[in-house]
């Protein structure tokens, strides 16, 4: 037989990883809501599938283990044993075991990892489940009562994602028919019809066939994709007779609130209800493409973007020289049209490289769960906007910084339950992680409702560490003080704890974020909240930059580090101990002449007319330049052999006239200036 076992192996690995993710997600849902029968089902199915596929490839240990797990799930599912914390903990351990075994298989082994201890635990749980348990016996609680609205199948999630991409709204429309309504079906039908005039209804609870046979109580839920606003949708439904209690909820908020209750009647049928109002929702057809190929495409589009800029300039020149001629007009037309097409092409290519942030967000619920147990804190972890998309290369990098911020919030931000209680706060702390797209950026926020930051404490610490001179420290407002936290070696926690705070801290977060051309900011109110806001460009290959002139040379400054530009007025710049300084938002900042740093030829012969305030890793600095050209979208190109060893630049770009401009990396430039060393090692 000549079957390629490696191919099967990689298919197995891919599938199993997906199942592991699903297992984890369902398990977390189950822990929140032990009555979630769907979660139990999904756990059972995942274990069952892994058992089958691992057996067929001869991974016996894994197969044996999942078999036992499947049995346990089956007993839970059929209510033979009650679901309790003990079983949930066992399931988490089981998940870890499967993960470990899969990692082992991935590294070329057979997943032969000893599971006997865990298997014993499982057997014990099967026979005497209550012996070890924490025991909130949930099996008696009415099964049907709570059911989250989240149960959407693939097609439905597809519809929703598509809607979000197109910028349409998705609403969950809940309403009841009036008590004693004689024509239940016609009323429900009228609502459906009138909603369809606003958009597409892609799901109903219960499903349409049941509605037709009047197999429902008084409550109905419709899901709609529409351009219309919440208000418009609500008005339309309310205008229909015998309809009461209309609620229109944007889909996202139902997602965060999670446990929406649907009345008992509407869920008499156990399986999911769905309809496709318009049958043209194709199942998304996907193919796998290597990232390398996408990178190539991205580069080619970069070329086109450059050509576009050049062509526009040429076309303008030609127009000036030969205005009025027909062919000049057509040239301008073609140039404009091609420019637009290239823009669209660029957008499309960028999109192919985008992944939803759920890729990283997925691992956080488990992290929060484990940490909060470890710290004995109660946390309500709310995630939203997981579908927001970001460039893959950014996604790959931001996991660690986010983990760090989450740990920080859990460890230092949110207080222990007793402390919260004594402050009159709910015992359960809230940690919110959200992502959303704002213009050309993706904004990720992490917010906790914990202690908040104490400006006085930070000031005290800064004084002790002698980071800022005392008189400046006195003048700093809260915001400026918070910024100090991003300095290397500055951490407010008094004690080093196991979870976070080992000296590496926010400065690392900041440098990672800035390396990705992003920015990070912090706001807080003492006793109320702390919020970190991370802002990333959608892609790394193309950035917004400020083009400046230094003498005759042109340089690009990434816009994300530019805080302000202003006309240089002589009296603003003062000399303190041979260092030029100026005042910016109450802070004294050094003024550096780029021409001097870059040793621009003929620098004695021109004047600087503008100041550009830029942020660097530790302190903002002011750069003086001879002229500002303006903002422009630039394509980042690698500098190439030897030149990439020079500090201070992270690439070059090609300007409209075909010349090359270097893109300044303010962080490495400043550290090079400080160390007087411009050559990278290695």
């Amino acid at each position: 037989m000549d079957i390629d076992i490696n191919e099967y192996r990689s298919i197995f690995l891919e599938e199993t990883k997906e199942l592991i993710d699903q297992f984890e997600k369902s398990l977390l849902e189950l822990e929140k809501d032990p009555n979630n029968t769907n979660a139990i089902q999904s756990l059972f199915r995942a274990a069952h599938t892994i058992k089958g596929s691992s057996a067929s490839l001869g991974f016996d240990s894994l197969s044996k283990f999942t078999h036992s797990l499947e049995n346990l799930m089956d007993m839970v599912r059929s209510s033979k044993i009650p679901l309790n914390q003990n079983i949930i903990d066992i399931l988490f351990k089981g998940l870890d075991y499967i993960q470990e075994a899969v990692d082992d298989i991935e590294s070329g082994h057979n997943g032969d990892i000893d599971s006997s201890e865990l298997l014993q635990l499982i057997e014990k749980a099967k026979t005497s489940p209550s012996e070890l348990s924490v025991l909130p016996d949930v099996s008696k609680i009415e099964k049907n009562v709570s059911r989250s609205l989240e149960e959407l199948n693939d097609i439905e999630t597809g519809v929703i994602n598509e809607a979000f991409i197109k910028g349409l709204n998705v609403f969950v429309v809940k309403f009841s028919l009036a008590q004693g309504c004689q024509m239940k079906y016609p009323r429900a039908y009228m609502v459906l019809k009138s909603l369809e005039q606003l958009g597409e209804v892609f799901k109903t609870v219960p499903e349409v066939t049941d509605i037709e046979q009047e197999k429902f109580g008084l409550d109905l839920v419709y899901y709609i994709v529409t351009k219309s606003s919440e208000e418009e949708v609500k008005n339309v439904v309310q205008s229909i007779a015998e309809i009461e209690m209309v609620e229109v909820i944007p889909y996202e908020s139902t997602r965060t609130e999670q446990i929406q209750k649907v009345s008992q009647e509407s869920i008499e049928k156990d399986d999911k209800s769905e309809i496709k109002v318009k049958a043209d929702f194709k199942k998304s057809q996907t193919i796998r493409i290597s990232v390398e190929r996408l990178d190539n495409l991205m580069n080619l589009v970069g070329e086109l973007v450059i050509d576009r800029t050049r062509l526009i300039k040429i076309s303008e020149d030609v127009e000036e020289a030969l205005s009025g001629s027909d062919s000049v007009t057509s040239l301008a037309e073609v140039t404009t049209h091609m420019g637009r097409t290239i823009n669209l092409l660029q957008d499309e290519i960028l999109r192919t490289r985008m992944l939803p942030v759920s890729h990283i967000f997925e691992r956080f619920p488990r992290l929060v769960r484990d940490l909060s147990h470890q710290l004995n804190k109660q946390i309500d972890f709310i995630v939203s906007g997981e579908e927001t998309e970001l460039d893959k290369s950014i996604i790959d990098e931001i996991g660690e910084p986010l983990v760090h911020l989450i740990r920080n919030s859990l460890d230092h931000g949110i207080e222990p339950p007793e402390e919260r209680k004594s402050k009159g706060k709910p015992e359960k702390g809230k940690l919110m992680l959200s992502a959303k797209q704002e213009e050309g950026y993706v904004v990720i926020q992490i917010e906790d409702d914990g202690r908040g930051l104490d400006p006085d404490k930070i000031r005290e610490k800064a004084r002790k560490k002698d980071i800022v001179s005392p008189n400046i420290l006195e003048q700093m407002d809260d915001q400026a003080l918070f910024e100090l936290l991003f300095l290397p070696g500055f951490s407010t926690a008094d004690k080093v704890s196991e979870v976070s705070g080992r000296g590496v801290g926010l400065d690392v977060v900041k440098s990672v974020v800035e390396r990705l051309n992003g920015s990070v900011s912090l706001s807080s109110k003492l006793g109320e909240y702390t919020r970190f806001t991370l802002k990333f460009p959608l892609t790394l290959a193309i950035i917004q930059a400020l083009l400046v002139k230094v003498g005759k040379e042109v340089y690009a400054l990434p816009l994300n580090v530019v805080l302000e530009t202003r006309f240089l007025e002589e009296e603003e710049v003062k000399s303190i101990q041979s260092q030029q300084v100026t005042l910016f938002r109450g802070e004294v900042l050094p003024v550096l002449r780029l021409a001097d740093i870059f040793e621009t030829p003929g620098r004695e012969n021109f004047q600087d007319n503008f100041l550009v305030v830029v942020s660097t890793s530790d302190k903002n600095v002011v750069l003086s330049v001879s002229d500002l050209i303006g903002n422009s979208e630039v394509v980042i190109k690698p500098l190439g052999y030897i030149v990439n060893k020079v500090k201070g630049f992270f690439g070059a770009t090609i300007l409209g006239d075909g010349r090359v401009a270097l893109i300044v990396d303010t962080v490495s430039l400043m550290s090079a200036v400080k160390e007087k060393n411009f050559i990278k090692v290695g």
Partner: protein, 162 residues
Amino acid sequence: MEKNSLTSDVYEIQLVVFKLANEFYGIEISSVQEIIKIQDITRVPKAPAFVEGVINLRGKIVPIIDLRKRFELGQTERTKDTRVIVVETSGNIVGFIVDLVTEILRFSSDSLEPPPPIFSGIDAEYIKGVAKVDERLIVLLDINLIFKGEEEESLKMLEAGK
């Protein structure tokens, strides 16, 4: 086929021959991508002195190295003959500024002699061999070693704290 093809380690060499401060040098044609006229070079601040800057070669950023400065043969005067030889080796693309590109030569590898122990121009370590063609001495450069040498050079500058 020529008479020397009996021994297997004899092969034909094709060289791009150029002039640098009165001497003739050659680079194997297989590593030469193209030869271009000198164009707008963007200076790279703080780069080693032999790096003239970078150019835009059809959308690619290509570093330009002044071979005269690289081998301490004085400053190149830009004339209408000045050319940039764009070479590619192990993934690096670099342009070398030379005084003049004269011709493409082919000759058999067995006419290549080891470098003379004392040579007025370039360090012997970068020389693969010399060939005598029509009374001219052509020095065959080892591109890979030049690349490697530059790495070391820039590290030396680092140590010197420049």
